[in-house]
Amino acid sequence: MSKKFTAIRLLCAFAIAIAISVIIILLVSEEPGTAIFNLFLGPLQSKRHFFEVFSSSVPLIFTGLALGLVFKSGNFSMISDACLYTGGVVTAALAIEVALPYGVHPIVIMIAAAVTGGIIGSIPALLKVYFHTNELVTSLMLNYVFYYLGIYTITKFLADREAGAFASRKYAETASLPVLLDRTNFHLGYLIAIGVVIVLYLLVFKTRFGYEIRVAGSNPQFAKYSGINTAKVIILTQVVAGAVAGLGGSVEQMGMYQRFNWQDSPSYAWDGVIIAILSGNNPKMVPFAAFFLAYIRVGADLMSRRSDVQNELVSIIQAVLILFVTAERFMSGWKQRREAKKALGGEV
């Protein structure tokens, strides 16, 4: 019953989100047919666009995993944003300044980005454990600090002075992830992301540490009294989540870019929130949630290219989904009536 109820609720949330986006399109567009068609079915029109969904879901998988892990441990840090961004900056530095053979170069970069992400991720956790700060507040501030540090690193050491806009020099060819399918941008990064999904699933559900994370998240008091070192759990989950986000930054850079040109911090970490929520903080479900969001994203891009509706519509859809999916009492009246009916029916 409760599983079925969750599914029905989820479907209703989706229906509301879709209805709202259709209404908005009908209100603002002069060619609503084209807009709606491209938004919902655009990605299915060609092989290239369909696989674009997979490649755009790569950074979302990483941040969804990172945020899901953090949420699972009962913390609310948004530092994954800084981890991903700085992971990208580290990638740019190593892809430009270091010469290594094919195969080795990406591995070295990924390790470096993951380590950097892990270190950055640990900061709000350390501040929380040793200075009793709120990790959400510190992480939000630190995101800006690391963002500006990244911009500084790129403009000072790696910028291409002839590029005209903000961009680094070109990455070495050895530092790009190979494309797996001709005439698409479906790259090796997707498989790496799936690999990380499996590793994190095993970590959360099959190890002692994963058990400690789950207990600390669902019942901190019990965790404390049963001898779980909650400080250690807080710090280590943040380190792992930061490493995953940092790795995501490097995979995204090596798979999709030839120069570093993230002038604004990409909002992948914020998107990670909705991925984590839709997946119920379960790593196994993250690729599906990321696929869904990426699908809508690619559809929205096609929509904005082919019709007069802008792709910012996606953030509206996203917000509506988060609001309704996490609303505990959303449709609780419906559930109650059904249960009451069932109970009364049993009596008769």
Partner: protein
């Protein structure tokens, strides 16, 4: 050494202190908003998005009505609406306030650009909208005092409003029924409920106040010294208010000081832009200093709490 000289020279300029109040204003108003929400026991993470939406609505409404006052009221009203939506989800549908807040922030960053494009055909800024600004005020007498006149007179009307509101909020918490109810609900909802206070109603009022104050902050951004909305113009001020609010711990006067600390850093950053320090280091300074101040504050509070516990333990012996 050059840098030190630059800093010292900046510190000796009365204009610098004027700019400090100016930069502090939006954070101050939002800090007060965050404080009211937080004292009622709800963390309002949506402040960032609320401010952004209000800034946009202020510009749009003032451009179409050609009245700065109506624009300002529109901004404040939109702040109220956004916080009511948050209140609906948090209080009525039992949502997690942080996650709902994040959702509203996501909504704000997208929806403002979406509507801006509908109105102007641009996504960056509202340059083509003929929006208006609210006036600045010169205080008669005070403006003639040297130095102090330069620092304190001629500010934007909302800067003065912010300073007055510090007193109003402080007074509200200390002496009014509503203020006491908000505090009671925040500290112990069960106890408040048991003496007949409607917890949900008080929380809703608190969230509305926080939305209205944040709406004023949004209006200051887009209708204060510039008559322009640009995408993402809040630049994390709503998040900074969460930190300054935490430092203030419910005291409006400390909240003002924390906001002025941010204003100090921000205005110093503006003045040092032509110095030899890399631009990005200057830009990150306000955020870094607030984190450090917040961390020191939390650490000091914890030490105090521990000492108190020890003392009480000693007494019992």
């Amino acid at each position: 050494m050059d840098v030190l000289q630059d800093i010292l020279r900046t510190l000796s300029l009365p204009d610098f202190y004027f700019a400090m109040f100016r930069s502090a204003t939006p954070v101050l108003l939002t800090t007060l908003g965050a404080m009211v929400a937080s004292r009622s026991g709800t963390n309002n993470i949506a402040l960032e998005g609320t401010m952004l939406i209000s800034a946009f609505v202020g510009v749009a409404v003032s451009a179409f009505t050609q009245s700065a006052l109506i624009g300002f009221l529109g901004a404040v009203f939109s702040g109220f609406v956004v916080s009511s939506i948050l209140a609906y989800f948090v209080l009525k549908l039992n949502s997690n306030s942080v996650i709902s807040g994040i959702a509203l922030n996501t909504f704000a960053s997208g929806a403002t650009i979406f509507v801006l494009y509908l109105l102007t055909g641009e996504k960056g800024a509202s340059t083509s909208l003929p929006s208006l600004t609210l006036p600045s005020i010169t205080i008669p007498l005070v403006k003639d005092i040297p130095v102090i006149g330069t620092i304190l007179s001629g500010h934007h009307i909302l800067t003065y409003a912010g300073l007055i509101l510090v007193v109003v909020i402080w007074y509200m918490f200390k002496y009014t029924r509503l203020g006491m109810h908000i505090r009671a609900v925040g500290e112990s909802p069960d106890a408040a409920e048991s003496v007949g206070i409607s917890v949900k109603k008080v929380k809703y009022i608190a969230l509305s106040i926080s939305g209205i104050l944040t709406g004023m902050a949004g209006a200051f951004l887009s209708m204060g010294y510039v008559s322009l909305f640009s995408s993402g113009m809040t630049a994390g001020r709503g998040y900074i208010a969460l930190a300054t609010q935490a430092i203030a711990a419910g005291n409006a006067v400390v909240g003002m000081l924390a906001s002025l600390l941010f204003g100090f850093c921000q205005s110093m950053a503006n003045y040092l832009q032509s110095s030899s320090i890399p631009l990005q280091f200057i830009q990150l300074m306000p955020y870094l200093i607030i984190v450090i101040a917040y961390t020191i504050y939390c650490f000091a509070m914890e030490q105090r709490k521990k000492k108190k516990q020890f003392r009480e333990a000693d007494k019992k012996k």
